[in-house]
Amino acid sequence: MKKVVKVSIGNIAFTIEEDGYLVLKGYLEELNDHYRAKQNGNEIIEGIEERMSELFIEKAGKDAMVTLPVVKEVIGILGRPDDIDQEADSATGSYSSASAQQSSAPKRVYRDPDHKMIGGVCSGLASYFNIDIAIVRIIFLVLLFFSAIPHLFIPPFVNLHFFGGSFITIVYIILWIAIPEAKTMEQKFAMRGQKPDLSNIQRNVENGMNNMGRNIRSAGRNSAPVLNDFFRVIVKIIAIFFIIFSVSGILMLSFMFLGAEIFKGFIPLDILDYVQLGINSTIWLKISALAFFFLPLIGMLYGGIQMLFDFKKSKFRPGLIIVILWIISGFAAATLSVKAARPYFQQGREVSDVPMLSKSDTIYIKLASATAMPQTKVMMEGDESDMTLFWVDESGADRKFVAFPKVRIVRQSGDEARSLNLRTQAFAYTSGEAMIKAQKNLPAFELTDSLLTIHPDVYNKTNKWDGTNKTIALYIPDSVKVIVQEPLKFAFDTNMRIHSGWDWCWGNEDDWNMNHRRNWNWNRGWYHDSDND
């Protein structure tokens, strides 16, 4: 004889076989465990129990014995908590613990083609680690920067590589090759650790469509179109600002780097060819520097035009290409600049005194040059009784820069011995080299009685300027007048003052009228009358 158990289910008494009862008990405990903690969970349990009683009556008859197969059948009809939740749970559901487990799947790392900038490595990693793409990208950029630092800041012993930041670039490329791209829907879900079931698809679609949905919804209301138009106008204004800013920027930079002819046919960038640098060819420095300055403006112009006319993005992703080129050019320009500056790392000085035996009350200075000083385009640095003269000789086939030592007049008391003080400052990679260079390079002059003839240094493309600067200081009493005889016919006396600073000077012969020249304010560019001074 089989043992039976009498139970009350849904306020109806049933007689159940013991094995069936045990199964039923297990099921009810399962329900209880699952729903007890939920809001009004007991109602759910009660409801299911009631339905169970109805089903028992239906399957077994009102007063018949409930057998194990009936219990199993009824449990199958009612469903276990997991089945119920899976079916009952919608987006608003709160009974979701089981379904959350259901829809998760093993995570795999994939490259994300839908959010990629370059290869989708960063976006794929962001999906995998469930963090914001921006954070991953910033980490990569910071690493890019730091892997370039040794090249930027430890130049003397390390041979500079053209492109710093190569380490992280290589890492990126390896990841690009190694990580597969998420091509199918399934892979895209696996990338986020989700199963491609409908609720996940729905959730992703909802997230993606959120903005669109908002627009559609708001379009129905009266105020919405105004708001939309308002934003569209803002975008257009920004676009126009971008265009104006970038165009004027491009014009300005063009003028600065390429357009402004300082001397005939000579653009500012060409100065690099007349300066001794630590690099053999300046072409890459020029290109990278130009790219670095121009690319953001070009990108801005492109973005502005795209925003203004709303045209479709090109397949070639010009914005991205510009960003990449800009980063590359930035590193190239920075590393090349450091390398180019190598001959200027250390400086050396040489000082030498030459007694002046002449007791004359006037000293004549002759600036001896193989070629005549041009009437125009002379650069001069002036200071109180202190001047540098510099001009460009364009008479020959090759352009030459003619630079005279700085001439300084130091007034002293009458009884002190007159002297010429020669100084040279030179630059080189090491201090020793710089000192030797300075020693070999004292200002060239001849002193005969009261006439001081000063010789210039001439620089051209083969004999490049290397930063060497020279000074001849005249230690003479207050009473001695200094006349720059040739070619300036420029007189220094005790009251004479040339203002500090230097300036580009160009103009016609009238501007360079000898009578006016000595009162030219080099700094501000105006004349004043010395008699009123």
């Binding site: 729903y35 109805e54 119920i84 409908l198």
Partner: protein, 113 residues
């Protein structure tokens, strides 16, 4: 490996509209849970019957439906569900949303969007 089986997709699709169905049925007549189950099962909207109860409880908590106790064919009093005014309001919104959804899907399917 995961694979999308059609049953799963169907059940996922049904999920979203189950509550809509319950409100619709109750809008026509007040009903016992058992008759709701019958209708939903006939319509193949649910597979396991237990599904209904969490949904009813949830909708009751949201004030969309209410119940009173009434004598049942089986004897003891059972909950007799009816839709509330709030439920009717939501149902009206659901109706229009449903129409919109059907239209949109038609448009998408016919490639007219």
């Amino acid at each position: 490996m995961t694979d999308i089986n059609t049953d799963n997709v169907k059940s996922q699709m049904r999920k979203g509209v189950l509550e809509y169905c319950i409100l619709s049925i109750l809008n026509n007549n007040d009903a016992y849970a058992s008759s709701l189950i019958e209708e939903l099962k006939n319509a193949k909207m649910i597979v396991v019957e237990g599904t209904l109860y969490p949904l009813l409880t949830r909708q009751k908590n949201q004030g969309l439906l209410s119940y009173r106790w009434e004598e049942s064919p089986q004897g003891p009093p059972r909950k007799y569900y009816s839709i509330t005014d709030k439920g009717k309001e939501l149902l009206a919104e659901m109706d229009s949303a449903w129409k919109e959804l059907v239209q949109t899907i038609d448009l998408i399917r016919n490639n007219k969007l």
